[in-house]
């Protein structure tokens, strides 16, 4: 065991820090044109698509450099490296791995340059956790697929220009072979026959939507991978999720702001920190976050050594899901009634923030695969228990 970084890694960390010192003002001093400038600069540094091969315009960074970059950025609460979130997270890696040369030149630069938003269409009204049962269908007609059906909970659909989606091209109605017959398509959302209806979530945001497809014609050129290969394409791009290092740094930052909050709060007429239950809950959060950090490093070590991971990332996902709910509920508990206020009437900066966050957990807890599904994954793939 050693937790040292190599000279080259230290040099890279220094480079990142220097860049952030020079180009990232504190949050409250970021002006109106800050974001545009930031995006240009990080693009010029080739940090956008940092792990992507240089041939497609990425940074060609290795796994440790990625960790360092994420860690340093999270420490400074840096904004994301691009605004095309879905493109950078899932769609781009899918195209790089399965796309044709034509698709790569057509889509990758725009993703890297934050030209427009992508969204990902997996879920349907009757298809959630059991994704392979999807029914939205596409029939080949000459050199076009014709899509009929619907997708739902599609994040960013109200603002996106393109969708990377899964459709059924074969094995209709068969549950035994449901994983086959799925195809991935890249679809222009301005195509005729598409209707997008935003859905308001409980926190008041209108970020996801239901999309209806009525005889939408998509050129065969826009198929990602072979026909029927959609399941493999999806698994591969989901597996792109690397370490949870940046995430952990953000969780530590959240823990710090909770501690600040507690310092200034009263509980039963006494400083909240004097309440042993409060102290214990904070310490339990710390143990879980530290466990996430160290689990991440242990799995990272295995990746560096070239040992394939099974589904170990589900371990941290489950911690993250718990923490997401528990930490914001904790803040509300400590704040008592004032924690429920959405506005800033009570003149404490934090107030309002915690109320909003306490309604935001489904993003993480449901959006990334529910805890029950994560437990199934661990039980079945790691422990080898029978499927249910």
């Amino acid at each position: 065991m050693d937790f040292e970084y190599t000279q080259a890694e230290e040099t890279f960390r220094h480079e990142v820090r220097t860049f952030l010192d020079e180009n990232l003002p504190p949050k409250d001093q970021r002006g109106a044109d800050f974001m545009a400038q930031w995006l240009k600069k990080v693009r010029a540094k080739r940090w956008v698509g940092f792990a992507w091969p240089q041939e497609v315009g990425g940074g060609g960074g290795d796994i440790m450099q990625q960790v360092i970059l994420k860690e340093e950025m999270a420490k400074r609460q840096a904004p994301p490296l691009g605004t095309c979130m879905m493109g950078l997270a899932w769609v781009g890696p899918g195209i790089i791995q399965y796309g044709t040369d034509e698709q790569k030149t057509r889509f990758i630069p725009d993703i890297l340059n934050s030209k427009y938003h992508w969204c990902t269409g997996y879920s349907e009204p009757n298809v959630g956790s059991d994704l392979a049962a999807l029914q939205c269908k596409a029939i080949l007609d000459g050199d076009h697929y014709v899509i009929n059906g619907t997708k739902i909970w599609t994040s960013l659909a109200p603002f996106a220009q393109w969708i990377s989606m899964l459709v059924r091209t074969d094995n209709f109605g068969s549950t035994a072979t449901k994983h086959d017959g799925i195809t991935a398509l890249l679809v222009d959302l301005s195509s005729p026959g598409i209707e997008i209806k935003p859905i308001e979530n409980m926190a008041g945001g209108k970020v996801f939507a239901q999309i209806f497809f009525d005889n939408v014609r998509v050129p065969v050129n826009n198929r990602l991978g072979k026909e029927g290969q959609g399941w493999a394409v999806t698994i591969a791009s989901l597996a792109n999720e690397r370490s949870s290092i940046g995430e952990v740094t953000a969780m530590y930052a959240k823990l710090d702001s909770l501690k600040m909050l507690i310092k200034d709060s009263q509980r039963q007429g006494k400083p909240a920190m004097e309440d042993q239950k409060i102290r214990r809950r904070l310490a339990v959060f710390e143990a879980k976050i530290e466990a996430m950090r160290l689990n991440g490093l242990r799995y990272l070590t295995r990746q560096i050594k070239g040992e394939p991971l099974s589904s170990e990332t589900s371990v941290n996902k489950l911690h993250r899901a718990d923490l997401e709910v528990e930490m914001s509920d904790f803040a509300i508990d400590v704040l008592g009634q004032s924690g429920l206020q959405l506005g800033n009437q009570l003149e404490t900066i934090d107030r309002g923030k915690w109320a909003r966050e306490s309604l935001g957990w489904p993003n993480v807890v449901i959006g990334g695969g529910t805890p029950n599904i994560q437990k199934n994954i661990i039980a079945e793939r790691i422990l080898g228990l029978p499927k249910d």
Binding site: R280, A283, A379, G384, K387
Partner: protein, 370 residues
């Protein structure tokens, strides 16, 4: 950056595994734990020959000169097999002398421990709820030629089997460790059974015991707390192995046992609980490995990292022990079935060197003073 074990450490793990499977399978553990001494001196001598008893002792005192991370590799496997022996107590005693004793003291005591001629243990605590230096009450007045000690140490691991006791006491200002031999006049021990027969503890009674200056070691609270942290780390390492064994046994049982026409492992009440156990063991495993690394490589981080590991493990493993039995149904409740032995270990491990409440509170105190 490498948060994994070296090839040598993996080889050591293999060696330990093979040795324990051959010499001390659970069937043998059951025999040993019912003997008076509670451990097998023949196996102990074999372990000595393998070098494990002096693992963390410098080579010049007959040791192997390895570190705490190597030690926990052995402990994890011992925990898996519920191996009954004074290994933890002995290793902590040896490690303490190796770190703190004078050359003369090492020559007189450490060689004996490293080679297995004598068994060592630590006798620090007087009030079991507070495993820290600040709550040591045994006191003695230092004279020109040593000290005379009167009092009782509680919860001394392997008290009845140890030859050498490292005893903490305070005089007016300072904290000391006294190296006391079982043969000295006025020394007696009183072993007591706990629910886990593979773990022996007892009390050490000191009735006008004179300790010569050459067997005194002036130290400080920080060193005592470091020793207690190392103890917590050692115990937690065994908890990993034992908890892993529970998951292994229960998973196998869940695949085989049929109810309502299906293996019970198909039901989420069973499989999800097993997945949660896995998450917890993975997590306190990571916390513990890091704490073990801190012992030698980053001592200032040890208090926090040891407390995080022991706190998490204490709560998690105790629930794992209980649920391991519960998920087996009635067979888990029988003497004959091994699961009960692991349940008892989980109960034993929970309060030893600080339970979850103690360590979580300590973590929050560390935060305040940060």
């Amino acid at each position: 950056m490498n948060f994994g074990f070296t090839e040598e450490q993996e080889l050591l793990r293999d060696q330990v595994r093979k040795f324990l499977d051959a010499q001390s399978p659970v069937s043998r553990v059951r025999e040993i734990m019912h003997t008076d001494e509670g451990f097998d001196r023949q196996i102990w001598q074999q372990i000595a020959a393998l070098g494990w008893l002096g693992l963390v002792v410098d080579p010049e005192y007959d040791g192997v000169g390895l570190g705490f991370v190597d030690l926990i590799v052995i402990l994890e496997e011992m925990g898996k097999s519920l191996f009954p022996s004074p290994f933890i107590a002995h290793s902590l005693a040896a490690s303490t002398l190796n770190e703190l004793a004078s050359d003369d003291q090492k020559k007189r005591h450490l060689n004996d421990l490293a080679s297995g001629r004598k068994i060592g243990t630590i006798a620090l605590l007087d009030i079991h709820d507070l495993p820290n230096a600040e709550s040591i009450t045994l006191s003695g007045v230092i004279h020109e030629d040593g000290v005379v000690l009167n009092g009782k140490k509680l919860f001394v691991m392997d008290a009845d089997n140890a030859d050498l006791f490292i005893v903490a006491f305070k005089d007016q200002h300072e904290t000391y460790l006294a190296l006391i031999h079982r043969d000295q006049t006025g020394v007696s021990t009183q072993g007591s059974a706990t629910m886990d027969l593979t773990k022996r503890t007892g009390s050490l009674e000191l009735d006008n015991v004179s300790v010569a200056t050459q067997d005194l070691l002036l130290t400080d609270d920080e060193n005592i707390n470091r020793l207690l942290d190392k103890a917590a780390v050692a115990v937690t390492a065994e908890m990993i192995g034992a908890a892993e064994a529970v998951i292994y046994m229960t998973t196998h049982y869940a695949k085989d046992r049929i109810q309502f026409d299906n293996p019970i492992g198909k039901y989420q009440g069973v499989k999800h609980r097993l997945a949660e156990m896995y998450v917890d063991v993975e997590s306190f495993r990571s916390l513990l490995y890091y704490a073990a690394w801190c012992v030698d490589e980053s001592p200032h981080e040890l208090p926090r990292s040891a407390s995080l590991a022991k706190a998490y493990a204490s709560d998690a493993f105790s629930q794992i022990g209980t649920d391991g039995v519960q998920l087996h149904g009635a067979i888990g409740f029988t003497q004959e079935y091994d699961m009960q032995l692991y349940l008892k270990r989980s109960k034993w491990a929970r309060p030893i060197f600080g339970d979850a409440d103690y360590h979580y509170e300590r973590i929050s105190q560390l935060q305040v003073t940060d």
